[in-house]
């Protein structure tokens, strides 16, 4: 042992550890961009990860069928009842459709988002290992015009934001994460707040609208969308619906539990918004 500490090998190991710490410190200063070495590894392993993820998702789906057979049977029964109920409601369908059209006009989401410049559809090639906030890796990176902190969306709603961009891949932080704050508004009541994930809600695929004024009109089922306050997200994009409301433990403000419009754990492809009206360019300067 004494010889080891005096040996050249020991000094070489110390140099290696110092180098690794140097890499770590350098990585901190990269501002969301991967180191070139990591980029190369990501590029080389991209097809393998993609294949591996496809296989794993298929296995998961089959295991899910086997392990949750009773649950699916019960769900099937429940859905049959629901179909009967929905048939009754079909009579009101046309009336509701007209109402929905009215609402769509009011929201005007699609029209208002003509300003958005979208990337090509990005395939989800893997999920970050053991991440409670379900961040994932997509197969497009800086070569496709993606930068750190670009919003990530699907047709259903907002998913999250790019946080680490390599040449060919990017890591997406989801709206379940407490590290992502999104300025949001209730379409119905106009109450504003900040959408921010929490650990306990993330495990249930939910997120939270916080800092809502105590006097508010929030109620279950209301649609929550982005506002243009931050310059980080396009205005009026769907985040999710309210499933629960309450008053903060401090008693100074209210909160709402949000069910995201997107099922993050089932995502297979997304799009990245590379530009939009009202974007604050300072986020993208490096």
């Amino acid at each position: 042992m004494h010889d080891f500490f005096k040996s050249f090998r020991f000094k070489a190991i110390l140099v290696l550890i110092a180098f690794l710490i140097g890499v770590m410190i350098f990585a901190v200063t990269k501002g969301g961009y991967s180191l070139s070495g990591a980029s190369v590894v990501n590029t080389v392993t991209k097809p393998f990860k993609s294949i591996s993820n496809t296989i794993a998702l298929k296995i998961e789906a089959n295991l899910d069928k086997i392990t949750n057979a009773t649950e699916y049977y019960n769900e099937n029964q429940r859905l049959r009842d629901q179909i009967g109920m929905l048939n009754d409601k079909l009579a009101d369908y046309h009336e509701k459709t007209a109402e929905l059209e009215e609402l769509r006009k009011y929201l005007g989401i699609k029209d208002k988002h003509e300003d958005m410049v979208l990337s090509e559809p990005c395939k989800v090639i893997g999920f970050t290992a053991n991440d409670p906030f379900k961040s994932f890796i997509i197969d497009k990176g800086s070569d496709n015009g993606i930068k750190p902190y670009c919003p990530v969306i699907t047709t259903e709603g907002l998913v999250g934001i790019t946080v680490e961009v390599s040449a060919d891949t990017s890591v997406v932080r989801t709206l379940l994460s407490p590290d992502l704050s999104i300025a949001a508004v209730s379409v119905n009541s106009g109450d504003t707040g900040i959408v921010e994930g929490t650990i306990s809600l993330a495990m249930d695929n939910r997120t939270k609208l916080i800092h809502v004024p105590k006097e508010n009109g929030l109620s279950v089922g209301q649609l929550i969308t982005t506002t243009d306050n931050s310059g980080l997200f396009p205005r009026g994009y769907s985040i999710g619906t309210v499933t629960e409301t309450g008053v903060d433990t401090s008693g100074l403000s209210s909160y709402a539990v949000i069910k995201p419009a997107v099922r993050i754990e089932k995502l297979t492809s997304v799009m990245v918004v590379t530009d939009f009206n009202g974007k604050d360019s300072s986020y993208y300067e490096n």
Binding site: F4, L20, S52, I55, E60, N130, T198, M203
Partner: protein, 187 residues
Amino acid sequence: MRIKTTREKRILIVKTTFRWFLYLLIVFLCFITMNAGTFMRPMLLIPVALCISSNTGEFRSAIIGAVCGFMIDLSCDKLLGYNAVILCIFCVIISLSYSLILRHRLANTLIITAVVSTIQGVLDYNFYYDIWGYENSSLILKKYTFPVIALTTASAVVVYAVFSLINKFLMPKPHLTIEEAIKNYEE
């Protein structure tokens, strides 16, 4: 000690090369499966790095630890180099321990994997969740860190079996060259 012939030397080189090829293949396979699916999974690269370290010298162990650590950083989206430093240090310690005091036994591998993955998991929890003061951060410890430690320790059984098999057929036996045998005899 047996005396090593020229033919045996050649076989030794081929076996060693093939053994390292298999080691690196296992590391690569573990890396690409780390991001597959959304289910909770063991940190396979930890027992793999430790098993390789238990069979190699300190410097190679340090390199293997750093490589596996970098791969964990990439898979888990951690600060690049964070797990590399941790595994590099542990792999050197494990390599020294096996050359001085420990024997190749499943129990040793299990204990070492449990200790290293617990330290890695708890450090990860502290640096990535606890110190930031997230609400209910202890849930991470309960629902992610401890189950992952348990899965990683359990996976060490399979990893140990695979490496034992590889080493059984490809690990060089203690040999001497004719020159070394003569020198020993003269001494």
